[in-house]
Structures are given as C-alpha cells and as structure tokens.
Amino acid sequence: MCGIIGVIDRQKQKMNGSGIKEALSLMNERGSGEGAGYAAYGIYPDFEDCYALHIFFDNLVEPKSKVDDIIQKWGRVVHQEEIPTKEQTNLKRSHVPWRYFFKPYTDLMTGSLTPGEDIVKRLVMEINSSTIEGALVFSSGKNMGVFKAAGWPEDVANFYKIEEYEGYIWLAHNRYPTNTPGWWGGAHPFNLLDWSVVHNGEITSYGTNQRYVESNGYQCTMYTDTEVVAYLFDLLGRHHKLPSEIIVKAMAPPFWDEIDEMEEKERELNKAIRLTYGPALMNGPFAIVVATHDGIVGFTDRIKLRPLVVGEHGSRLYISSEEAAIRTMDPQVEDIHMPGAGEPVIGRVVT
C-alpha cells in the first residue's frame, strides 16, 4: 500500500524535517512499521560540491576498509563521519549509517560527458552488486541525502534527528513491504546520484524494465521494483537528456487509440516515444514522486490505479497519497487537486 509525500519550495526556502515527519506519520495506516525514509535536498551547504555517499555498513571493520580502498582509487574523501543518530526503543539498529563527502578524479573516466556522475554511478553499482559484503550505498547525490531504516516514520525520523536538517525539497515514504520486509535497503526513497524516488504500488513490468536498464549498464541489486525507476530517470534524463515531462510520457504513455486521434506532429512524437521507450513503460499500479536538485515530478500509472493529490501554497508544491497528509504539513494549503492518469505534476526551482 505505502504512503508517499513530496514537497518543494520553488524559491529554495528551506524547511526542516519536522513537518514532513508528521505528515508521513499521519499515513501510518498505509504502512506497516517495516520501513520509512526521507530524502532532503540542500542539506549539506558546507560540502555542496561533494557527492554525499550514504552507506549502510554491517560493521566498520572489513566492509568499510574495502569501501575506503575503492573510493580512494577514484577520488578524494573531503570528509567522512558516522551519520548522527539517536537510539529509538522501537527501532533495531541493523547497520551503521555512514557518510562520505567525496570528490571524484574526473580525469579517470575517459570518454564521458559527465565523468563525475559516471564515476559515482560506477562505485554505487560496484559496491552494491555484492562485491563488497556488508556495505550498501543508499544515497549518492550532491548536497542531498537519504535517511531510511526499517521502522515507523516517526521512529526513523527521530533516529536520524530529521528535524535538524534543512532542505528545500523533501520526499518521504511510509512502507508496507511485500518483497523484502525489515531490510533497511528495501526502504524508500531509492536514490542514485541526484535522483530520489518514492513509490507506491507494484510494477508488473519490472522484468522488462530491469532488462532494459541492465542493457544500459545499470545493475539492479535491491530486490525491489522501485530502484529501476531511479535508473530509468538517470538513463532517460541524464544520458538521453529528455525533459522530465517526456520521461513521464515514456513511463506512462497515452494509449494508442488516443495517440491515433492526435494532430500529426504530436502523434509522431508520441509514437516515437512508445516505439523507442517501450521497455521503459511501467505497467501495474503506481504513484511516484521523483526529485532532483532542481525539481520534483509526480505521476501515476496510465489507468490511475493509485492515488495522488497535489496542493500548492505560495512557493510550495506538495504531492502526496492523501490530502490529509498535505494538510498536516500545511493547513493553509490551496488548490488541492488530483492529476489525471499519467499526467506529470512538475515543480521546478525558480532561479
């Protein structure tokens, strides 16, 4: 079932994590206490040029020394520390969450237009594809971070002291797992580089989508369908340079009978998208919110099998599974509405 919420302040005014924690907790009916998480953008201004690598270590001995070795081959660690946490009675500490602030040596990745990102992506794939036992990178963007664990939203938030972070974009997710209960890595948001994803639903086309991203150099290691969304956004957004509304169209395209009715130019565009990105089409019920440093986009599946509500207030745009969650964060919210099936809701930073 799962509950999701995302918010952006388009003027980049920062919000601390207390509001979203409350909003997420309101949707506890949608979760099961086995996973919750938060993503926040703009939280590391002191290290804004560094990739913030958040890693779950099973212990700080073997896995960490292996990770240190491989990271230091590809770049410089500007700073590293254990992510500050506070013990919670109802949350079993299964891993040590650690963060590195990392600057890749961009000259090491030849032939790439985005060498820094490609190095970090490579490190994430390498560490996570079980070559290093006991280490899992769960966040790897710049000036942003994911905080997640197995537990109820408020416990996870308190564990990470989420109120102490100040971000202009927040995503949060309350999990009702079916595939990997109790596993910290299975909690949302899923992240790769700048992309973070929260997802409600189940992707019936997972096998097809997985093959497609794997054919393009990604490795699916999380045993769950959501990570593929992050990789699709990275592939279509960063590599293919598609605007976000086109990425959404690729993942949740109009039906052929609707395309047949369109004006020629639009028809050609939509046909080209469906033919080219057929393996990126996501089937099954879903509502998704994706964030990057400059915006968020929310959308649902093509026949609207999952709920999504949007609200606005001044420079803030909220996207959530429930209106009540938005109102918890912002009782003065206006323009509450429900986007149509497959219709992207985009909130972009105004610069």
Partner: protein
Amino acid sequence: MSLGSVPLKYRIQIDRQQCMQCMRCVDNCSYGVFREEDDGNILIDSRKCTACHRCISMCPRDAINLSERPVDYRSHPLWTPEAREDVINQSRSGRIVLAGMGNAKDYPIIYDRLVLDACQVTNPSIDPLREPMELRTYLGQKPSKLDIRKQENGEIELNTKLSPNLELQTPIMIGHMSYGAISLNAQLSLAKAAAKTDTYMGTGEGGLHKDIYPYQDNMIVQVASGRFGVDINYLERGAAIEIKIGQGAKPGIGGHLPGEKVCTDVSCTRMIPAGSDAISPAPHHDIYSIEDLAQLVRGLKEATEWKKPVFVKIAAVHNVAAVAAGIARSSADAVVIDGFRGGTGASPKVFRDNVGIPIEAAIASVDQKLNDQGIRNKVSVIASGGIRNSADVAKSIALGADAVYIGTAALISMGCRVCGNCYRGLCPWGIATQREDLVSRLDPEVESEHVANLINSWTLELSELMGAAGINSIESLRGNRSRLRGYMLDEGTLDVLQVKPVGA
C-alpha cells in the same frame, strides 16, 4: 499389399450397420483407401491410409473407425517400430527418408514446463474487456534513444526519425507457406484472414500470385536462395521483405518442389519453367558470410527506397544468438527464428527430427545476447516453430519475442489434421496440393473465417492472460521473464531461459 511388407500403419474399419453407403468416403479419399464394388459394397485398403481424417469428418453416420498401429511388434525400448521400419525402408530403397510437418520425436516441450503468473492483492489484475488492453505491436528497428529538445517557447521538438515499422494489432502473424507448397485457395484464405485480423502473413518462396494482390498490404514477401518470383514489382508489393536463410524443419539444407507440382500457374508465379523441379539451394549464393547478408539487406532496401522493413529468417541452431547479433548489425529490421519444431511440406526425416534447438531456448538466448550487447532495439525478434496456442504465444513474448508466426496451427484451422503427407500433393483438404478437384474443396470465404477466428480467440486469450498479470500493454510482457517460472526444468535450461523455478 505384397508379401514381405511391414505391418500396416493404420487400420480403417467401417461399421457396416451404421454405414448408409453414401460413398462420401470413396469420393473424398484422395489416397484410394475406399473402393466401391459393383454390388455397392465398400472395399477398404487400409495400407493406403494416412490418417488425414477426411473420410471420418465427411461420414454422416460416424461409421468409420481408425486405429493406429493395429499390429504389435515385439516391444523394445530402443528398436521402436519406427526405427525398424526406417531401416527396412532404406535397405530397400537406398534413399533418404522424406517426411512432412514438424519434428515428430518425443523431446520434452519447454512451453509445457513454463507457467505464467497472475496478480493477487499486491496489484490488481485488469479485465481486458473493460479497461484498455494494448496488443498493438510494431516490428522493425527502433532508435536507441530519442533526440528531443525543449525550445524556449516550451515547445517540444523531435529530431529523431523513425525507421519504417510494420504495425500489427496482435502479435500473431501467419508464417511463410508458399504457393506451390500449398494451394492458391489455401494461401488466399490465409491472406484474407491476415487482412481481417490486421496482421501479416508470409508468401514463402513461391512468388505472389495476382489473386493475392488485393491483400498485398498484409503480405511479407520472401526472398530465398532460389529467388523464385522475385522481381522489383514483387518487392514493391509486399508490406515487408523477408530474406530466408533457413528454416527450423530443415536447417542447413535447401528445398525442392517436385516438377509435378509446378503447374502453369505455379510456374508463372514463381517465374520458373513449368514441369521442372524448383530447386532452392541450401545457401544464398551471394551470401557466404555475414557481411554478404548486410549487402543483400541493403540491396533490397535500396531497391525499395528504404521504405520497407527487411526481416531475416534463420533456423534455431546452436549458436543462434551470435548469428542473430550479427543480423542485428546488418541493417535488418527483424530477425525471425524458427525452432526445430517448425513445420514443412517436406523435409528429410533425419533433419526434421535431429537438427536445431527448441524455439523457447532460442528466443531466450537471442534476446539475452542482444540485450547484453545493448542492441535489442536494433531488431525485432519474431519466433516460430511449434506454437500451438495462446499460452505458447504469451510465453514466447515473456521470453523476449516481439511477435510470433504460426503455420501448422493456421493449417489445422483450415482442415489439416497433421497427417504429414504434404509432399505427396494429394492433400484431401485442398491445402498441400495443386490438384484442381482437391483445391476446390477449400472455400476461401469459409476457411479465412476459421483462420481469423483462431487468431481472434488467441488474441482474446492473450489479453486475458496479460490482464491477469496486471499488464495492459504488450511491451510490458516482452522479455518480462520474472512473470514466468519453470516447472521440472533442469538447472541448465533455467539458466538459459533466465527463469526461476516454481516457488522461487
């Protein structure tokens, strides 16, 4: 019979009490099993029977009974009756044993050891009659990515051009069966059915008869090693062109249509002399290597101004994946893989039963290889050879095929009972024959309806299967092996198929 014969294959018996001596069996049997005696009695020569069932289906009283192998041999697990009879046959003739239809050996059928998935709770199944269900399939090259730019004014600009693709409303097509191998009425029925169901059929290497012209928009014209019937008009008429390298029923060898079947009409359509054998060599004599294939593909495209997709058909052999990857680089638009169960009018039995690999494994390994090399978008994959029902279609697509060709199933819908005597030219159903009285038994109006019904009912079942799996668009089933499980398949095969065992 003569002394020294092997036992009869089939025994025909007539229940004389039921029989009303209407003589329909006598009239219908083209093999001469029944003879009317002067006293009105019907005399039976069971030895001539092929089990084609024409008499049985025409008997108004259900009076005819057929039993297979009515005479027992001493049982032996190795020296089966068939093994013994082949030895006897060859020791007398000194020749290669010819056989019809597909592989008749008792190999395990992988399709029957794969099971499909359905949704429960975590996502809803979809009722295809109620909500949109998209089976529309495009065959041809797809770009690996689109160049789309957003302009200042917010308008979206597409800078990538699509290659020509075939548009199908169902992923089921009718495979290549030539005029010559089958009758014109049979081909006409298939063509009408393809048009009715918005799909395509192959001409086979027999040219395009003028009676088929009205359906040319639904025809894929074949270019095979004999180049029968191929000229620029033929190429221009087809919706797509298919180069035939090999076929599953007889990988690595050519074919020949016996001179008796080359009547005037066939000779005109194939553009060959009447009465001579029509010989298709084993290889194309302008293709001795993969780069030569690329030459032929481009030659055909140049001739048709790059307006038509060009497919390449190969038999599923051991290294089919590598061959397909080579084809994908040749500017071909689709690769057709024909599994070792593929049908044929005539094939040396030793080839039909022993050469090639099953289509299920071939689809999986081709799709995997193309995916690994990042070129899956460059070609569509069409599977054929032993597809019997909609479940086989669904499984083929989940293993990675874009579409399938059916052959035998379409013939069965027109009357064929898979007796396997197609090469004798006496098909009493009017399918694999050119004898006018037999051909006229087949009414294209009626049989096209039957073929169309078959495709429609499979299409309906396919959408039900997809809906149950929570999928409303065929592209989300394609290569979606996580929706398959293997039941009693060995680890090696599961590994090739990249399918988990049941329960996993």
